[in-house]
């Protein structure tokens, strides 16, 4: 069962990647662990998808469906209810083992792999809230799945910790389904979600947003159900301020405290990790240090918009197809480094073995900057200088570089400066 390219994951990323591979005339198999294609888009029933790609506003399921229709029209081969359990590269070939109820353990070989496995939610364990360990403390995305796919409400009196977009979307969703949503707390002095979500999900329903606040205590009742939480203001070093405690009687605490790329599958491969993106390092073709292994979408960096996931993954698909045509490349790489005010940059490398691939860079700023100047510097040479307005960490920014304008020997540094 040898394939040209195998795509792992059938959400926004995998669908776009597989479609793009197939359009380049290559043989492709997509593997999805859930029972249907579409991934997390299926539970994102709100609108706001497609504005970038289709210039029209769709809901998540509609956005997924447009891709699934094209995917089916192209007759792309896929497996559902199938999990990749082991994955390796032996000589020039990738070997994959999958597990499924229908077929048991199967082995597949491929010349190239695209990782489109998305991301997972940070849980209570990753921020360590003192107090009891009752039921009723749940990630916002899990609550979203229970409500929108399975039809269960997880609670009636809800508080939300973290102002990530899923938390904001769930604040509105729970409110509309009849829950009382008492508030959203955010540790930072600014929101981590898109402004339009603050307005349409919180302000529309008078749900208060507590900036510079966090939950400092969780209390359970005798049945080990959540009973109350304590909200507390924090100082500029995120230390809770004594005397600012407020108690809320709630049965549910939703956590929307960040997303982490799901790249556990890559453990068995010789990839290089990036602490900043919490994923692996790639070059501009979205190829890792392992030749022929591509990563895209939220598995590479957590995006704000599904549209950007699709666009990035399309590039990964195109490049994987080019790799299959020409796998023996002479690599010559330079680094892209995060400079002042930059919290991360993707890709981390520019590889001159990929002269045909566009250099599209995305980054996030460390703080809020009203007017900024982004400068890309290689040695003595200023490669790019661009003004940007209203930069916030919650919104990813992009720029592109021309590979011809770069030399092959010096690393590149990206600085963001606040200007007047």
């Amino acid at each position: 069962m040898k394939r040209d390219i195998i795509v792992i994951g059938g959400g926004a990323s995998g669908l776009a990647a597989a479609i793009s591979v197939k359009k380049e005339g290559k043989d492709v198999l997509l593997i999805e662990r859930e029972e249907r294609l579409g991934g997390i888009l299926n539970q994102c029933i709100h609108n706001g998808f497609g504005l970038e790609v289709f210039k029209e506003e769709y809901t998540g399921p509609e956005y997924a469906d447009i891709y699934i229709e094209e995917f089916n029209q192209l007759n792309i081969d896929y497996l559902v209810n199938t999990t990749v359990i082991k994955f390796n590269k032996i000589k020039d070939e990738f070997v994959l083992y999958t597990s499924s109820l229908a077929k048991g353990i199967q082995k597949y070989n491929a010349k190239s792999i695209i990782i489109s496995t998305g991301c997972y939610e940070r849980t209570r364990g990753s921020i360590i809230i003192p107090g009891d360990r009752p039921t009723g403390v749940i990630t916002a995305g899990s609550a979203q799945r229970y409500l929108n796919i399975d039809g269960y409400m997880v609670g009636k009196r809800v508080f939300i910790l973290g102002s990530g977009d899923i938390g904001l979307i769930m604040a509105r969703r729970m409110y509309l389904e009849g829950a009382e949503v008492l508030g959203v707390a955010e540790l930072m002095p600014y929101s981590n979600g898109l402004t339009r979500n603050i307005v349409q999900c919180l302000n529309d329903f008078d749900i208060p947003l507590y900036l510079s606040h966090t939950v400092t205590k969780i209390t359970s009742d005798e049945n080990n159900r959540l009973k109350s939480i304590v909200l507390q203001k924090v100082d500029d070093r995120f230390k809770p301020i004594e005397g600012t405690q407020k108690t809320f009687e709630v049965d549910t605490l939703l956590l929307s405290i960040g997303l982490i790329p799901d790249i556990v599958l890559l453990d068995s491969l010789d990839v290089e990790y990036d602490k900043l993106t919490k994923s692996v390092k790639v070059n501009q073709a979205l190829e890792t240090q392992v030749e022929g292994l591509f990563v895209a979408g939220n598995a590479l960096q957590v995006h704000d918009l599904a549209d950007n996931v699709s666009k990035e993954s399309e590039r990964a698909g195109y490049n994987a197809a080019k790799y299959v045509d020409n796998p023996k490349r002479k690599h010559k790489t330079i680094k892209l480094l995060s400079g002042e005010n930059i919290s991360y940059i993707s890709p981390q490398y520019i590889d001159f073995a990929w002269p045909e691939s566009d250099v599209i860079c995305s980054f996030r700023s460390k703080g809020k900057i009203e007017k900024g100047l982004i400068e890309v510097i290689q040695g003595e040479n200023k490669v790019l200088s661009k003004r940007l307005m209203y930069i916030v960490p919650a919104e990813m920014e992009t720029f592109s570089l021309k590979i011809e304008s770069l030399n092959e020997n010096e690393d590149i540094i990206i600085n963001l400066e606040a200007i007047k």
Partner: protein
């Protein structure tokens, strides 16, 4: 009564205030005025939700209003949606309720149901 808005026309997100006498301040461009005027007079939103089905494989199916509806009708629409049960296979875009609450907007499926 003073009213405060955050403009969502562009990423700048101006904090705009409307005073008792109707004076608008805080907007950095003219689009902010239009935004606030609509929000003051007839704010509208697309409503998205799910409805029940009789199918075990797909117990809920997602729906939306095909046009924005007045903000003050949202809760009534939610109430209507809670009464709906889908009993037969239907395609994405199928109309479930026509002209809901006289808003001129239809409730449509945003995914196909068992089709």
């Amino acid at each position: 009564m003073k009213k405060k808005f955050i403009c969502i026309v562009c990423p700048r997100g101006c904090h705009i205030t409307v005073d008792d006498d109707g004076t608008i301040s805080g907007n950095k461009c003219i689009r902010g005025i239009d935004y606030v005027k609509t929000e003051m007079t007839s704010p509208k939103r697309i409503v998205t939700s799910t409805v029940k089905t009789i199918f075990k494989e797909l117990p809920r199916v997602s729906v939306k209003t095909d046009k924005p509806v007045p903000k003050n009708k949202i809760m009534e629409i939610m109430k209507e949606l809670s009464k709906v049960i889908i009993t037969e296979p239907m395609e994405r875009g199928s109309i479930i309720i026509e002209n809901i609450m006289n808003t001129g907007s239809n409730i449509v499926l945003t995914r196909s149901c068992m089709k």
